[in-house]
Structure formats: C-alpha cells, structure tokens
Symmetry: none
Subunit: 210 residues, 4 copies
C-alpha cells in the first residue's frame, strides 16, 4: 500500500528518482558534468543529499543512467525503422528523419552524450561505446544493403557514410534552438534529403563534374 493510491502509479511511485534524473539532465547539459555539484542537483530536484544517495550510488551513477536511457531509446527507434517493410532508401530516409527529430526533442541528452563520455568510469565507458557501436553497425548495415542493391553509390565505405551523417546529428545540440523557424522534423527532412542525395551514384569523387 504505497503512494500509488492516487494519481498515475508510474509517476507517483518514483517521483524522487525521476525528478533527480530530470534535474541532473538539465544541469549536466547546461554546465557540464564536472561543473554541476550534487548539491545543485538535489536543490533543483527539491530533495536532500541523503535522498539522492538512497536512489543512486553516486554522481557517476546518475550520468550512467542518463546514457542508458538515451541508448535504449535510440536503439528501439532505429530497430523499428530498420525492420519496417519497404525499399531501403525509404527506410534509411525515415530512420534518418526520426533520429534527428528525436535528438532535437531530447537535446539535453545529446549535449551530455558527446561532452561527458570521458567522465564515465572506464568500464562504463566501454559498455556505452559498445552499445553505441551496435547502433552504428545497425545503421551501417542499412547503408550497405543499399550499396549492394545498387541503390546507393558504393565508392564511399558505408562506415564512413554513417560517421558523416551522425556527425551532423550529434552537432545539433551545438547550434539548434527551438526558437528558430524550423522544427525538428523540418531539420530531419532537410538533413535526410542531403544524405540520400549524397548517396546517389556519381561519376567520380571530385567536385561536381557539371
């Protein structure tokens, strides 16, 4: 018989834990992991230090959870798009639009991801990299499928295409602002369009021949 008697159970059961993760995400994105003190996090979450150490083993633990949450979501979504029916070009396009729109919806997560990787404990860091690499390979396999079927040019290694595109994705947190005229999906369509176009078979690697 706990607090779930009234209100949505999910949000009532672990409100402290969620508030802590939310506050930590916002602060880590704004000021960096090392630039944020545990005191600031618990103050922003409206709890005390003792409470935080009840739910999380350490400050690093908070960061680890944030990474886990991001990776879980990204993997789930990519799987859905990659496993969908339809031509490979469409699947790549849709997955590309989605990853950009999703990244923009969770821009704080993205800011943290590439800025704070080196703060994780070595083993955690390796685990994150491994999971990330699986994600990369999933996307690369899609590209390679397009290359095998002659839908995409094959003079650029598929791995390199993925690094090319995901650079643009990861960079979003450094320039995108919600106040601008373009929504996340707008950006997604533009970027995915550039990606698909860049993969069209070409005559040569140099500057446009025409």
């Amino acid at each position: 018989m706990n607090g779930s008697a009234a209100g949505t159970p999910r949000e009532k059961d672990e409100p402290v834990r969620q508030r802590l993760l939310g506050a930590a995400t916002r602060l880590f994105a704004d000021k960096g992991f090392e630039g944020t003190s545990v005191q600031e996090i618990v103050a922003a979450a409206g709890v005390t230090k003792g409470a935080m150490y009840h739910y999380f083993g350490s400050k690093d633990d908070l960061l680890r959870e944030i990474y886990a949450r991001v990776l879980r979501m990204q993997t789930e979504r990519l799987d859905r798009f990659a496993d969908a029916p339809g031509p490979v070009a469409t699947r790549v396009y849709d997955a590309a639009v989605d990853v950009i729109a999703t990244t923009i919806e969770n821009l704080d997560d993205s800011k943290i991801f590439f800025r704070s990787m080196h703060q994780l404990a070595p083993e955690t860091q390796q685990a994150v990299r491994a999971e990330r690499r699986r994600y990369h390979e999933r996307f690369r396999d899609l590209v390679a499928e397009g290359q095998r079927t002659r839908v995409f040019r094959d003079d650029v290694p598929a791995d390199l295409v993925v690094d090319f595109f995901f650079g643009s994705v990861h960079h979003l947190g450094l320039w995108y602002h919600a106040e601008g005229p373009l929504s996340g999906v707008d950006i997604g369509r533009h970027f995915a369009g550039l990606l698909l176009t860049s993969l069209r078979p070409v005559d040569g690697p140099g500057p446009a021949s025409g």
Copy 2:
C-alpha cells in the same frame, strides 16, 4: 652556439609557454578541461605552478589561448581557399577537404573546441562564438554563391548545409584514429565528395526518386 642566435628562435624564445600550451592541449583533449588539474599540466610541461601563472593568468587563460589559436588557423585557411580562383564547386570542395585534413592534423584542438566551450568565461565564450560565426558565414556564402549560380540545389538553406557538413567535421575527434587505413586527406576527399554530391540539384526532397 644554440638555435637562438640565427636558427629558428621559436623553440628557444618561449619554450616554457609553448610547452605549457602543448601539455594543456593534450590533457584537455584526453581528460577534459575540468578533469585536468593545473598540477598535471605543469608536471607534463616540466615546470612549476608558479611558472605557469607567470605566463598565463589562470587555467581558463590557457583554454582561451587554445581557442584563439584554433580560430586563427581555421580562418586563415578558409580565406585562402575561398578567395582562390576557379569555379565555386572546386573552391567548396578544396576548402572542405582542407578543413577535414587540418582538423585531423590537430585533432586535440578539435576535441577541446566543442567539448569545453561552456567552460570559458561568458565574454570569452561570446567572442569565440562570434569568431566562429564569421567562419560559418564565410563558408555559407560560398554555398550560397553556388546556389545562386545554379551549381548547387537551392531547396536547402545554405546555413543548414553548413551545419550539416560541419557536424561531420567536428565529429571527427570522436571516432577518427590515426591507426586506421585512411589518412586525413582520404577522409577529406570522401566527405567533401559526399557534400558536393548532396548539393546536386534534385527533383524533390524525399528519398531518392529514381
């Protein structure tokens, strides 16, 4: 008869200052700005703390100098390529190859640049952003020139094209390793090729139509 009499005086005139900047660059890239202690920097440079504070006003000052050095170099190089004669596609291609090769040659600088911006004092941060914006605009103007002259597609805003491409550039530090099979110029040619291809006039924005 040492090198300072007639030879290159660079290594003898400011050896301590240069050693400090070098050590700081390496360490900041490896462990982050906040993860690196002044003690570690001076130990790596083989001097004492007092010496560091003789040449730099603070730890922040070291970071500021690193940013200034990067910006100066990047601006100089882009100007050279943008002002060169020849068709706009060639100029964009050459500049794109160069920025990637140069970034890879100075990968530590690149790692620091986008990870530690928020550690700079607000005014310094603004100055860096302003200088960075000028660089962005210089590149964007090249793209826009190509769009005006119908060499490039014009259904994607030139600013967005620049953000798309430079995401890939800035991301290099997160995956490129010198031990791989591809040199900086190799990567540059591949990425610049993808960029140029992505800018070819297209029928529509969706997944490749034909």
Copy 3:
C-alpha cells in the same frame, strides 16, 4: 544524562560552531586575521575544515560573526545604562566604567575590532560602521545632555569628547594585561573619573590656569 536534557543547552546545542568562533577570536586577536590560517582555526577548535565550511560560509564570515557579537553586546549594555534613572553625570560615569570593564573582559574582541575592520567586505564594513556610529551617537547624546544642562563644559564638541574617551577604550587591548595589579573595574573607575573631571566646566581651553 547530559546537560542538553534540562540544563543549559548552550554547550551541547552548537558546540562546533561555538568552538570555532572561540578559536577564531583567540587566534585573530593574537596573530591578526590575515595572519591566521583556516587550518589553524579548525585545529584549535578540534574539527576539520569541512565542518567549518558547514557552519560558516567563509573565513570572512567568521570575522563578521565576531563583529556582530561585539556590537550586539556593546549596544545592549550602553542602552541599559543610558536609559537608567539618575543624574546624567552618574549615567555617563556608570556607562563609562562598564564599557571599560566589559572591554577588558573581552579583550580579544577589542583587539580584533579595530585591527581587522579593513578585512571585512565593503558592505559588511559599512554595516559595522553604521552600527558603531549609532553606538557613538548614543553616547554622544548623553554627553550633549550634560552640556545642555550645564553639568558638563560645552566648549568641546560632544562628538570630540566621545572620540577622546573611546580612543582610551579601544587602546586597552594594546597595553592591558590581566596579570597587572588593576582589575577591569579599577581601570574603568580611573578612566571614567578622568573623563568626568575633564568635562567639568573650565575657564579656558589652555593649560590649567589655576
């Protein structure tokens, strides 16, 4: 069954805070504010640095508390004597004896007060000066009352009389030693006697005419 159950809770409720203030007072008086390190204070109080920064925001904060304590006590005592019934000469005499005896009882506070004022933050300094000025004015009004009623000579501005007398008070810390033959009240009676005599109406300002 310790003192905190029913006895005086003072020693048990805030032992660390009080020990810190006591140690700081003693050391600041001996070696000056800048000549005393936080390390020395916490060692003398038998706690760690972290504990000190749990109770006080900074080393300056300790000094500020010492000033506040002194000012509170002095103001309270002067008010009591000034508001007492009886002729003005008696009230001035009693207040003068008391301030001297009290100063001698808290000689460390007195040593700190006039030696370390310039170490306070500008705003704190102003607040202390303002409170000190109110004290001065309270005493001055007593003197002025005596001048108006012809009990005291009125050829010396009352403000100047107060500065004259309180110089002697503040100077106590520089020469008084408890080992001497005279108690605080002894000194108080002598100094108050000199003050009262100096205020007797006179023929002229020059050297004694008779």
Copy 4:
C-alpha cells in the same frame, strides 16, 4: 659622481628608496601589511621587484623602516617639548597638542603602527615596544612631575594617565578625516585641554560631585 649632479642631492640620491617607502606606507595604511603585495608596492613606486630587493632585504624590512621612522620622529619631538623651559602644565599641554597634530599630519604612519605591530619579527617587535616604552615613560615622567608638584591630581597613576591620553591619540587614524572642519591643531587643543582639565585636583574619583 652619481646622479646628484642635477637637483637637490638628498632627493636625487635615493629616490627609489624613498618612493618605495612612500608607496608602502600608503598601501599598508589602506589595505594592511598582509593585504598588500610586494608587486603592488613596486608598481605604485614605479620600479621593479628586483630594485626593491636591492634596497630592502624583505617586505618586513619595509615595515621595520616605517616603524623606525615614526619612532625617531616622535621621540625627537617629545624631547624638544619636555626639555623646554616653563611650567610643567604648559610643557604637557604643548607636547600633547604637538603629538596630536603630528599624528594627524602622518596619519598613515599611525594607522600602520597599531594595526601591524604583530607582523614584525619577534625581535623587531620587542625593539619597537622598548622604544615605545621609553617614549611612554618620558611622557609619564612629565605627568609625575606635575603630580609631585601638586599641579596635577595624584589619585590616578601617571602610567594610567598616559595610557588614557595616548589611546585618544592612536585612535585618531580610525575617525579623523582631513575634510572635516577641524585641523590637526584644533583637535590637539581640544584633546590637550581635556587632558589638562582631567588632571585637575578633584574631591573624589566618582561622578562629578556637583
């Protein structure tokens, strides 16, 4: 054949030394001895650190010189007044006026004297105290002479009278401002008048009997 060829020799021979002492005096009075860095002193004097360490053995040495200068001047002046002809009351009065006027003319010296004593090396401190004590005794002997000759009341120890009066003198630095309406001599006459009056023979030690 040194720089004394042009200009007043005295001021030309040791201009650096004098400028350093002047700058140090001003800064020590403003910010305290420990609150003033050697760098600030040499900057204010317009010389370099090396120059300072050429003329003075240490920062402490500067302070020692300032104390020596003050003591020398005060002793000289008191001697002149004490050894003058005339009644003892007049000599005390004149000496009292002079010490106040002189103190006000050199208020920075006075501020330093009582605030920074504890910064001197133990031996220097003892030497200063000894010299100071000789000064005190010289003045006390004047008072005692007046008591022996029945010009002054003798129910207050002469030593105490001197401590009483010199408290007022030393306190000047804490409240006197040149912008006020009263000159140094004005204050001197008022304070000396209060002193002389306070020394008139009285009926009893208590509050004025009338």
